[in-house]
C-alpha cells in the first residue's frame, strides 16, 4: 500500500513540465487585495494548502498499520489466531484489487476531486469507526467489515491526494511536494507503530482491565486521526473551490485512462516487473504486520523495543527515498539497482531467519532496500509502456500487488500458526527468491532485446535528447508536408528533392545527428558520415530512376524511434530486421525505398536509428 503514492507521482510527474493553468492570470485583475496567506496565487497560501494536503493522508496511513501496532492486544482481546488476525490486512487489500482501476475514473468522471476526496475520507473514517466498534463489541466480523470499508477509502484517497498535489503544484514544486507527502505517509505509519501501544496501556489504566472494550476505545482514539484527515479534506475542498473562483482554475484531474484491453499488449518485461513487484512486496508488508510479536518471541525484545524496530523500515524510508531516488535518477541502471535491493532484502530475511544477530542490522537493510526498490522499480514501468498505457499498467501493477498482499497475508498467518517463524521467514525468503529469479530474467530479456531498462542515466539522457529533437523535427516535417501538399504536387521530382532537402537542411541535420550518435560510446552505433551521404544519394538516384513522371515524390526522413517511450519498439524492430539473413526491404513498394543508417558499422549490432525514405503517398509516418 505504501507505494501507491509513488506510482501516482510517476504518472503525474509526466506532465510536470506543463505550465500551471492559472496562476499568472490572477494578480492585476483582482479587485480586492488579499493577504499573502489567503491569496491562492502566492507561495504562502500554497504552503498552507500543502500542510492540509499532507495531513489528508495522515489518518489513513496511521490507521492502516493499527493491527500491526496492536498485534498482541488484538489477538488476545479478540481471541484470534494469527490466520484470522492477518485477515484484517487481507480485507484491506481485497477492495483495492478492483478499485485501483476505478479510483481515477471515479475522481475524474463521477465525483470530481473535491467531493471525491471528502467521500473517500468519509469511507476511511467510517471504516475505522466500524473497526473500532467491532473491537468494542467483541464482534470480529464487524472488524473485518470495518477494514473492508477502510480499504475502499484508503487507496483511492491516496489517488485524490496526489491529484490535489498536481493541480496545485504542477510546474512548481511538484516533486518536492510528492516527496513531502511520502515522508508524511511514513511518519504516519511510524507514529502509529510507536504510540498505539502506549495509548492502549493508558486506556487499560482507565478502564481497569484489558479486553475488547479497551481495544475498541483505543482504536476509536486512533480514529481521531481519520477525523482530522476528514477535516483536512473539507478545508482543502473549500480552498480549492475558492481558488477556482478567484483564479478560474480547473478542478484537478487524475488524467488517468484505464483500458483493460491494453493488457494483451503488455510486453514480457512488464510482466516480469509485475512479478518482481508482487513477490517483493508480499515479503515486506505482511512481515511488518507480523513483526512485532516476532521480535518479542525470537529476540526477547520488550514490547516498546519491538514496536520501534518494527517501524524502522518506515523511519529509514522517509529520508532514504528522496536520496536514493535522486541517486537512481542520476546513475540509471535500474535493473542493477532492483537486483541489489532484492538481494539485500533476501539477505535481511535470511539473517532474521537463520541467525540471532541483532535485528536492527537486518531491519535497517530491509528499510534501505525497500526504499531503493521503490525508487528503481516503479519508474521502469514508464520505460516499457507507451505513455497512453501508463495508467493501465500502473493500475494493473497495483491491482495484482493488492491481490498478492491479500493472499499472502492469509497464507503467512496460516503458516505462522502451524509451522512457526522459521518457516514463515523461509517462506518470505522464497518469495524474494522468486522476485530475484524474475529480476535475473528481466536483466537478460532486456539485454537480449536491447532494451533501455538498464541504460545508464547519461546514455538515457542522450537518447532523450535525440528523441526530443526528432520529435520536434518530425512535427516540423509533418507540418511542412501538410503545407506543401497542395503546392508541391506539380513539381518535378528533382526540384522537389532539392527543395525538400534544402528546407530540411538535411545534410546539416544528419551531421548533427551523427555527432550525437557517435557520443553514444558503443562502437556499434558508429555512423560514417560520408557513407551516409553516399547512401542517401544512391537511394535517391534510384528513387529518381524509378519515379513515374507524374508522381511527385518526396523523401521523408523518418526515424524509427519517435519519442522516448516508443523507442523501444523501433529498436526491437530494427534488430529483427537486421538479424534475418535478407533484411526485408521497406522499399518493397515501387514508390518507396529505404536505407538503414545503421549498417555502417562493422555489421554487428544495428543502431537504433533508421531512416526510411518513403513515397509521398505513404505519407503518414511509420
Amino acid at each position: 500500500m505504501a507505494d501507491r503514492e509513488e506510482r501516482r507521482g510517476l504518472v503525474q510527474g509526466e506532465d510536470d513540465s506543463e505550465p500551471s493553468p492559472s496562476s499568472s492570470k490572477y494578480g492585476s485583475s483582482s479587485e480586492k487585495q488579499l493577504s499573502a496567506c489567503c491569496d491562492p496565487s502566492r507561495l504562502l497560501h500554497r504552503i498552507v494548502v500543502l500542510i492540509f494536503m499532507c495531513f489528508l493522508g495522515f489518518g489513513n496511513y496511521f490507521c492502516y498499520d493499527n493491527p500491526a501496532a496492536l498485534q498482541t492486544q488484538i489477538v488476545q482481546d479478540m481471541d484470534l489466531n494469527t490466520y484470522m488476525f492477518m485477515q484484517l490486512y487481507a480485507w484491506y487489500s481485497w477492495p483495492n484489487v478492483v478499485l485501483c482501476f476505478l479510483g481515477g475514473f471515479l475522481l475524474d468522471r463521477v465525483f470530481g476531486i473535491r467531493l471525491g476526496t471528502v467521500i473517500f475520507s468519509l469511507f476511511v473514517c467510517v471504516g475505522q469507526v466500524i473497526f473500532a466498534a467491532g473491537a468494542f463489541f467483541g464482534a470480529f466480523w464487524l472488524m473485518e467489515l470495518g477494514r473492508f470499508v477502510f480499504g475502499i477509502g484508503g487507496e483511492s484517497l491516496a489517488v485524490a491526494q496526489n491529484t490535489y498535489a498536481v493541480s496545485w503544484f504542477k510546474g512548481k514544486e511538484l516533486n518536492l511536494v510528492f516527496g513531502l507527502q511520502l515522508s508524511m505517509a511514513r511518519l504516519g505509519s511510524t507514529v502509529n507503530m510507536n504510540i498505539m501501544g502506549w495509548i492502549y496501556s493508558s486506556v487499560k489504566g482507565l478502564v481497569g482491565s484489558p479486553g475488547h472494550t479497551t481495544l475498541g476505545i483505543t482504536l476509536l482514539i486512533g480514529c481521531a486521526t481519520c477525523i482530522f484527515s476528514l477535516i483536512c479534506a473539507l478545508v482543502l475542498g473549500y480552498l480549492d473551490k475558492r481558488a477556482e473562483k478567484i483564479l478560474n482554475k480547473e478542478q484537478g484531474k487524475t488524467g488517468e485512462v484505464i483500458k483493460l484491453t491494453d493488457v494483451k499488449d503488455f510486453s514480457i518485461s512488464l510482466w516480469l516487473i509485475f512479478i518482481i513487484c508482487v513477490c517483493y512486496y508480499v515479503a515486506v508488508f505482511p512481515f511488518i504486520g507480523l513483526g512485532q510479536v516476532f521480535f518479542i518471541e525470537k529476540f526477547s525484545f520488550s514490547a516498546e523495543q519491538a514496536r520501534a524496530i518494527n517501524s524502522v523500515v518506515y523511519i529509514i524510508s522517509a529520508p532514504a527515498s528522496p536520496v536514493l531516488g535522486f541517486m537512481v535518477d542520476r546513475i540509471g541502471k535500474n535493473i542493477i539497482w532492483v537486483m541489489c535491493a532484492v538481494i539485500t532484502t533476501l539477505a535481511a530475511h535470511m539473517m532474521l531467519a537463520f541467525t540471532f544477530w541483532n535485528p536492527w542490522i537486518a531491519m535497517s537493510l530491509l528499510g534501505l532496500s525497500y526504499s531503493l526498490l521503490a525508487c528503481a522499480l516503479w519508474p521502469m514501468v514508464a520505460f516499457v509502456v507507451p505513455e497512453h498505457q501508463l495508467g493501465t499498467a500502473y493500475g494493473f501493477m497495483q491491482s495484482i500487488q493488492n491481490l498478492g498482499l491479500a493472499l499472502i497475508s492469509i497464507a503467512s498467518g496460516y503458516i505462522l500458526d502451524n509451522r512457526g517463524y522459521l518457516f514463515l521467514e523461509v517462506f518470505f525468503s522464497a518469495c524474494v527468491c522468486l522476485a530475484l529469479i524474475a529480476v535475473v530474467m528481466l536483466y537478460f530479456v532486456d539485454l537480449l532485446r536491447g532494451g533501455d531498462l538498464n541504460l545508464s542515466a547519461k546514455k538515457r539522457g542522450q537518447l532523450q535528447q535525440i528523441s526530443d529533437t526528432e520529435a520536434e523535427q518530425r512535427e516540423r516535417l509533418l507540418q511542412q508536408n501538410r503545407e506543401d501538399l497542395a503546392q508541391l504536387r506539380p513539381m518535378s521530382a528533382f526540384g522537389l528533392r532539392n527543395r525538400y532537402l534544402s528546407r530540411l537542411g538535411a545534410q546539416d541535420e544528419l551531421k548533427r545527428l551523427q555527432n550525437s550518435l557517435e557520443h553514444m560510446n558503443d562502437g556499434k552505433y558508429l555512423v560514417q558520415n560520408h557513407q551516409l551521404k553516399k547512401d542517401i544519394e544512391n537511394n535517391i538516384e534510384k528513387c529518381q530512376m524509378n519515379m513515374q513522371p507524374f508522381e511527385s515524390k518526396v523523401v521523408v526522413i523518418q526515424r524509427a524511434w519517435r519519442d522516448y517511450i516508443q523507442r523501444q519498439d523501433g529498436l526491437h524492430q530494427s534488430c529483427m530486421e537486421k538479424r534475418s539473413p535478407s533484411p526485408p526491404s521497406l522499399s518493397s513498394g515501387k514508390m518507396s525505398t529505404s536505407i538503414s543508417m545503421n549498417t555502417l558499422s562493422d555489421g554487428s549490432t544495428p543502431g537504433p536509428v533508421q531512416y526510411v525514405f518513403t513515397g509521398w503517398k505513404n505519407y503518414d509516418v511509420i
Binding site: L80, N81, E297, Y421, L422, F444, D535, G603, T605
Partner: protein, 350 residues
Amino acid sequence: MGSVCREDASLRYDADPHNPPSEVRSDALFREGLTQSGQTTYTPRLIALDLKEASTVSVYSWCNSATIWEYRDNSTDQSQAAADSYFPPYSLEEFTWEDLNRTLNHSALTAQLCGRNQSQHRGRVCFQISAFESWGRDPAWPRLLHSANSSQLRFVIEGVMPRSNCSRFALELLSIDSRDHEAREETHRSIDDEYTPSIFQVSQLVSVHVNSSAPVLSYAQWKPVAYRTASPVFEDSTPCRHSPSSPPLPPPRLGLALAFFGGALDQGYRASAVNISFGIPGEPFYNATGYLSWSCLLGLGSPPEDSFSPLVLGIMVVGLGTPALLLLVGGAYVCVRRLGRQQPGYAPIN
C-alpha cells in the same frame, strides 16, 4: 497405592515372551530401539512414581521428584511472585490414583497415570509416559525430538479447581544424582521453531562427570512452553520460566529414593531442584482454560539437537540455486551470442 517398578533388576535381553515375569512388563517398558546413529540399543528404562511420598521419580541415573505448587500471580513485572502468594502445595499422596495398567498402550508404548484430589471430583493431574523405539518426534506439540534412548514425560493438569482467580502453577523437579556427577542447567537459543512455533529456546538439565569434559551422561530436556488446551493451537501456548537450579542439597529421604539407591543415598548422592512455572505476567491465567500440559524429554547420553527440516533446506536450496543457475546459464548464453555475432555476418557496405 505406590507403584514402584524396579525393572532393571529383572531385565533380560532374551526374555521369553511367553513367560513374562509376573510383576514386570518388560515387553512394554523395555524395548529394543534404534539410536540416532542407527545402532540397536536396549536401554533400561525406568520411570518410577512414588506417590506415597508425593513425588515423581524418573530414573536413569536421575531421580526426579515433583511437587506441584499453585500461586496467585498479582505481579505486573517479571519478578518472582511474592512468597505469601503461594498456596499450600498439592500433595500427591492425598490423590486417588487410577490403575496404570489400564492405560498402558503396548503398541504405542505409552502409559498414563492419573490421580484425583479427594476434595475435588472433577480435576485430575496426569503423568503421561512415552517410550520410543526409534528416532522421531511426537505428533503433538512441543514435538520434541526423541531417540530410542529417551522417554517423554508429559505433565498435565486438567480441570483442577484454581484456588484464586489468577492462579498459575509451578512444578518442582528434584533430581538425585551421584556426588561424582554434576548437574548443569543450560538454556540454548535455537533458531529452529518449526516444530514448536514461536519457541526459540531449549532448556536442559544435564548430568556430567565433575572435573572432566566427558560427554553428557543423561539429561532432561524441555522447551519453555506449556499449552493451555488439550489439542493446542498457536495461541494456546504459554511461556514457562524456570529458576536456576539450586545448589546441591542433601538428598531427601524419600521412600522411593531410598528404595532405589539404598543405604548409599546419604553419602553418595545429592539432590538439586529446579522450579518450572507455567505462564508469565501478561499471559492468561490457568483459570481461563483450566488446563495445562508440559512435556519433558528424559534420556541417556547427549541430548538430541534440532536441525533444519528437509523442507526448509529444500526451499532454500531451490530458492537460492535457481537464480544462481539462471544467472550462469543466461550469462553463458549471452556470451556465446556475443561471440557468435562478432563473426562477420554482413560485410561493411564500403
